[in-house]
Symmetry: C2
């Protein structure tokens, strides 16, 4: 129990920093204006921090690298839980390329920083993982909420956690994911309060982006999905929900992270919080219509 | 004030019967299996009652016929309020045809029964209106909720008023329509309680049907649109909203009806409650995707 809580705390921090840093662009140089330009600069070790603000309009992804022995179960887990685990790229075992996300992409060098885990504990936070690479490693790139949030902002919908300059509130729900092999656990959701008309519009907009969490999984009545107190998120920061608003819940990328960590794989690698995989795909390409 | 209330009561009854009768198919003969077959039978005076159950899958429409002097303002009113007033067909002045809705359609004979109004009072309820026809009359066919309700039922979403075998509850809101000429008044909404996941799905489904009221105008929190007591609809019947449900509100066809009646036009004709215009267009044709 104690160990599980430690693990979950690590996960929290990961997502916290991802989302907080996303609100604070740190690099806007022209050299970073495309996904490829950003990756090349990162590969040359010119950037070892957050990718927030890099290559505006291009998809950034969460990274999980697992040994092949676990990879097929995790693949199946993602397939069975597409809303929290939207898989936008998977490598062949041992292959550092994911051509679907970038022609020259090398997953070992193209993220600013990584976390290397052994038995559920971080053992290294390197800026490249060539020395940790193994022939049995499979890389998973999972869509993240930055893409759909951009689409919402573009339509003039307020995102409260951005207004408050804090991390989106996230909640462990009473909804179980569909298990696959050792992978199982509760669905984690993020919450954005909206006026009803905006909530309806947000459902329409995010429906267009199934590969970056898609439509909400729940609206209104937090207690129906096991959230006892909307003012006390399990991760991230509480944000005000005004009298004329309802909470809108999306499946959250913390779900696969916490599900992986709960398995305590003997070896795995993830992105360092906020230091995402910047791809050559544009957010708009992920719209299904 | 007293007069307005009488007028609104008339309107109530119109919609009540439309929607109640819609739940109780009364004719399923093969001869009525298409819109055209249904219209021909009606034209021969073989049917003078409700069109519920006629030509399954074909669009049925509300009818309003106004003198040309009012028609252009009403046209503009519909254009400015597409959600409550989804115009699917308009005739030329004096022309009983609406080719867009049926090749041989004759608006004077093809509805089972009509109501003829003078100064806001019903003066006749004939089965055809040839003797009332004038060269300055413009016919408006407005989409109705039957089409989107069919789409919801097809996807397995429960419609509470059908389960309860009663009329959908309707409410006058504090939301004003966009006025045009003499036409103005509050938006009227219909309410269907749903579990949150069904509500999200229902928003997606009805978004595809903008010409039959389209996506909801409001979800949750009735008080935000001036509905004081969800248990006391202004028209139709109260239906139970369970603890695990939220109310979902769609713009309602009672809006244009009540707006027209409030103007007390010196002359107008509408369909008799429940006796709709059956068209040659299929419900599925109205899906924008």
């Amino acid at each position: 129990m104690g160990q599980n809580e430690v693990t979950l705390k690590v996960t929290v921090n990961m997502q916290d920093q991802i989302l907080t840093s996303a609100n604070k662009p740190r690099a806007t140089a022209d050299a970073l204006s495309t996904g490829r330009a950003a990756r090349l600069a990162i590969r040359r070790n010119q950037h070892t921090g957050s990718t927030a603000g890099f290559a505006p309009g291009f998809v950034q992804a969460n990274l999980a690298i697992l040994p092949q022995a676990l990879a097929s179960d995790f693949l199946r887990f993602c397939q069975r839980n597409p809303k929290p685990c939207p898989m936008i790229g998977v490598s062949a075992p041992g292959d550092p390329a994911i051509p679907a996300l970038g022609d020259d992409l090398d997953i070992r060098t193209d993220l600013p920083r990584y976390r290397v885990w052994r038995d559920g504990t971080v053992i290294d936070e390197p800026t490249d993982i060539r020395k940790w690479w193994r022939d049995d490693l499979v890389s998973f790139a999972l869509g993240c909420s930055l893409s759909f949030e951009q689409a919402l902002l573009d339509e003039g919908i307020e995102l409260r956690h951005m207004t408050c300059d804090c991390t989106v509130p996230m909640y462990r729900t009473s909804v179980e994911t569909n298990a696959a092999g050792p992978f199982h656990g509760p669905l984690v959701v993020s919450m954005r309060p909206m006026k009803p008309a905006d909530a309806i519009r947000a459902i329409q907009i995010t429906t267009r982006f199934p590969s970056v969490h898609g439509a909400p999984v729940h609206i209104g009545k937090p207690e129906l999905i096991g959230i006892k107190d909307i003012g006390r998120p399990d991760w991230g920061d509480a944000v005000p929900v005004h009298e004329d608003e309802i909470p809108v819940f999306w499946a959250c990328g913390v779900t696969p992270q916490s599900v992986i960590m709960a398995v305590r794989p003997d070896f795995c690698i993830t992105h360092y919080p906020g230091a995402m995989l910047v791809t050559d795909r544009r957010n708009t390409e992920f719209a299904i219509m």
